[in-house]
Amino acid sequence: MTRIAAGIFAALLAVAGSADTSPRQAQRVPLPVIRIEQGEACVAPVEEMRRNHMAMLLDQRDRTVREGIRTTRFSLKNCVECHASRKTGSVLGKDGFCSSCHTYAAVSMDCFECHTPLRQSRTASAPR
């Protein structure tokens, strides 16, 4: 009896495993939309940006607010200028550069409670 049960369990596992790797299943996972709107390269390599962008922003924020150092390289304003969507002018929204990944990773971000998510410079294709 136990042997049959174990057999059924193994079969189920095998089915589940094969289902996971099937392309149809993979497509159901809502991957983040990463659309680079502007420029060839970011301020650091992509891998470093993905791991450490929050640390860069945190350091820059204290330097700017407390000491008045206003270099643009790691500033949030600079992020938004490049990465805001051409269509909406924002880094938030469904396919927004920031919100798309943060939704996927289930990490909430508080930046845009106070900071504007909109690009300030006007471009021909963007509304703002």
Binding site: R61, D62, R63, V65, R66, E67, G68, I69, R70, T71, T72, K77, V80, E113, C114, H115, T116, L118, Q120
Partner: protein, 244 residues
Amino acid sequence: MSPDRRQFLGWGAAAAVTAAGAALAPGLRLIELAQARSPEEAASALQRWGLLIDITKCTDCDVCVTACSKENGWTGHGRPETDPQWIRKVSLRDKRTGYAQTLPLMCQHCEHPPCVDVCPTGASFRRDDGIVLVDKHTCIGCRYCVMACPYGARSFVHETVSGQKSDVPRGKGTVESCTLCVHRVDRGETPACVEACNRDGGKAMVFGDLNDPSAEIHRRLRAEPSTQVRADLALNTGVRYRGL
């Protein structure tokens, strides 16, 4: 009250800086007077930003308030009790003579700010160049500073904010006040209220470095009588009034 050791050393250092800044020879200084900073440079204690407001020239307009609101993106919701107020016009009237005056009142950018003393998180702070600010990243919205400020200069953001200016982040649950347009000052410009007053108003406001002997504000403060609001509190305000 006799000066303690720390204060005495401070005076010595101040005297040394003044002597060095004053000049070895014309155009030659030991310590160069700070000019407009580059973006990489931190704000320094060599400068102390301040305002001189000549109330005799202050007319009955409110261009300073309008300009501040436009520059910093704060607006009211028709609820005067809770609306943000970075700068306001105050009217004074001598009850006996009927003599009326009007003046703009905002954060006085004290050297010894009570709002900084009471802040439990260190969010309320004084930058090295004398500008008193709120670091909204660490502000928990307790409003102790609102209570502590003798000028009623601070306000609390009660409403969800949207459409902020990129240079002036604002958010619900934090305290805010006049920043002396710190984003403009860091670019080497003057605050929005001063610019507006000199363009459309009574030309009553002068902005500048209180430590710079060549600055107009320094010259005028030396030559003309001026007062601090609530000078009895000995806060050494950065905003001075003339004709009060």
